[in-house]
């Protein structure tokens, strides 16, 4: 098996709590997964599921209760390895007394770059994230979206092989989200590995080669967005237009109207009979598509199952 960009083995994290710290809460439970070299991997889960915990463990901001992880074949405890990875924290906050240029120049100093290289890269990054006109403004005057861009710039400043982004779209307007998506796709084109966490499923579907879904501190599924959900069609949907009076056809009673258009959902076996009926009624067929479950439905099912299990434990505990 070729070396994975990120390998996580049985990683668990427990936090002590209570007055004497005698009770322990599991934040992450026995997580094992691989992110292959060059892929964009989406880490999905609701708030508090363990996404940020996993990422913080990888970045050695917190330490595991058990288990291990390697990035590019090296243990995460090896500090030198961190020269090959970039990290964007969730809701990043940087030294607000510095300008964007100064903060990037500061972070660049921790990599073996000459002063000339630092200047060139910082200038290029500011341009890339659209901050070159605001580079001399102190960060205390930046909006949340602008800070997110600074965070992204510092994460990729040193040309890292693996980029880990914790909620990179958070706090961004549609334009900003689009720009972040473009940057992630550009990183992929350049052959870099990207692991990013999100709870926006459309982002994951659009960008990721594979996704991992984590709920309640446990990994519930890993795979391509299409593989992960059951790809078996659940029926057909016909989109059509109908001018004039609505004829008295039973099929049309089931149709849902959206503006001028109507859509009807029906089992696979009834498709051709339905098309004949619509044709006879004078409808103009716009499209016929398979109904597939979405990643969102898959995700919601997992979350609801987890909640049901948690409340069952609560009840039995009482």
């Amino acid at each position: 098996m070729p070396q994975a960009a990120i390998e996580i083995e049985n990683l668990s994290k427990e936090y002590p709590y209570g007055f004497l710290h005698l009770k322990r809460k599991k934040s992450l439970e026995d997580l094992s997964m691989r992110v292959e070299d060059g892929e964009v991997f989406g880490f999905l889960g609701p708030n508090g599921a363990g996404k940020s915990t996993t990422i913080k463990l990888l970045m050695r901001l917190i330490f595991p209760t058990s288990g291990s992880a390697r990035i590019l074949g090296q243990s995460i405890d090896d500090v030198s390895m961190h020269g090959s990875i970039g990290y964007l924290p969730e809701q990043p906050y940087f030294y607000d007394y510095l300008t964007a240029y100064e903060v990037l120049d500061y972070f660049a100093r921790f990599h073996a770059l000459t002063a000339g290289d630092r200047h060139t890269r910082v200038a290029a990054m500011l341009k890339k994230v659209g901050l070159d006109t605001a580079k001399k403004i102190q960060l205390r005057k930046y909006s949340k979206g602008m800070l997110q861009r600074v965070g992204l710039a510092q994460a990729i400043l040193h040309d890292p092989q693996v980029v880990v982004l914790d909620e990179p779209m958070s706090g961004l307007d549609p334009l900003g989200r689009r720009e972040v998506r473009d940057i992630i796709l550009e990183l992929k084109r350049e052959g870099r590995t990207v692991l990013f966490s999100t709870h926006v499923l459309s982002d994951a579907e659009m960008l990721c080669d594979r996704v991992g879904v984590i709920v309640g501190g446990k990994l519930r599924g890993v795979g391509a967005p299409g593989e992960l959900v059951d790809m078996k069609p659940q029926g057909m949907e016909i989109l059509f237009e109908l001018s004039g009076e609505m004829p008295n056809v039973p099929l049309l009673a089931k149709a849902m109207r959206t503006g001028d258009r109507l859509r009807v959902q029906l089992p696979d076996a009834e498709l051709y009979a339905a098309l004949d009926q619509l044709k006879a009624a004078g409808a103009r067929i716009l499209s016929v598509a398979q109904i597939k479950p979405t990643l969102e439905e898959f995700f919601m099912n997992l979350v609801e199952a987890d909640r049901a299990q948690a409340s069952a434990v609560d009840v039995s505990g009482k």
């Binding site: 917190i62 500090v79 961190h82 924290p89 007394y97 510095l98 972070f107 965070g151």
Partner: protein, 258 residues
């Protein structure tokens, strides 16, 4: 070394931009007021009063900065999460701590040097030309700086494992206790059994002895400070700070950030 230098330079820049050095304005006003008043109310001891007041102000202002900023060095970074992006870089946690320490010591060095210049200016205004013995003021200022470095190290250690409020309390408490470390060592209280005396003597050696840095009485009266005293105080401050910083590094190396 590159990492420590970068963190130290940024810590110094933060202090400057957060207007920490504005305290110098307060010091300058204090010295000016003292120079004017002293000429009117004291005859023959103007110099003594100015030196005593100036060195006390340098020490008190320095201690306040060392305790409050020393505690904030790490706790503020953890609280605001500015530390996250940095620790994901190829930086050891101990490098971060040392960078923070040296950055604040550098700030205190510049601050103390500027106040020393102010003190000499006030002295010159009440009595000039200055006497060769006035150079001993520099020795006192140097020892104050050593004391401040040790306080920063202690504040840094406490802020690595407790809340900022408790860290300030512990640092200030240890400073006050350290002022009496010498007395604790030589105490011969009546009615105390030998075991208690031994315990107190042991504690006195563990506490940071801040009396090692106090030469104000000698300097005010123009008496020389022996070179051996300065050397031993320097070695003491370096060793004690190194031990405290090493302990801070050990604690911080396994600290889970929020």
């Amino acid at each position: 070394m590159r990492n420590i230098r970068a963190v130290a330079a940024n810590t110094f820049r933060e202090a400057v931009r957060d207007r920490v050095l504005y305290n110098l304005v307060f010091f300058a006003l204090l010295m000016m007021a003292a120079a004017i008043l002293v000429g009117q109310i004291s005859i023959g001891i103007e110099k003594d009063v100015i030196i005593s007041l100036g060195l006390t102000a340098i020490s008190v202002i320095g201690i306040l900065i060392a305790v409050f900023l020393g505690v904030a060095l790490v706790s503020k970074e953890m609280d605001k999460r500015t530390l996250y992006a940095l620790l994901a870089k190829p930086v050891h946690r101990w490098e971060f701590l040392l960078g923070k320490f040296f950055g604040l010591v550098m700030t205190l060095g510049v601050n103390t040097a500027a106040m020393a210049v102010g003190l000499y200016a006030a002295l010159w205004s009440v009595k000039h030309p200055l006497a060769p013995a006035d150079a001993y003021i520099l020795v006192a200022v140097y020892l104050i700086l050593l004391k401040l470095a040790l306080i920063v190290a202690l504040a840094l250690l406490f802020s690595c494992f407790t809340s900022p409020f408790l860290a300030i309390l512990f640092t200030a408490g240890l400073y006050v206790a350290g002022l009496f470390a010498g007395d604790l060592r030589t105490i011969q209280a009546v009615g105390l059994d030998p075991a208690t005396l031994r315990f107190m003597r042991g504690v006195s050696y563990v506490l940071p002895n801040f009396q090692n840095f106090n030469v104000m009485a000698a300097v005010v009266h123009g008496q020389p400070v022996p070179g051996s005293f300065v050397w031993s105080a320097t070695v003491y401050a370096l060793l004690y700070s190194a031990i405290v910083l090493a302990a801070a590094a050990v604690v911080f190396s396994r600290r889970n950030l929020k």
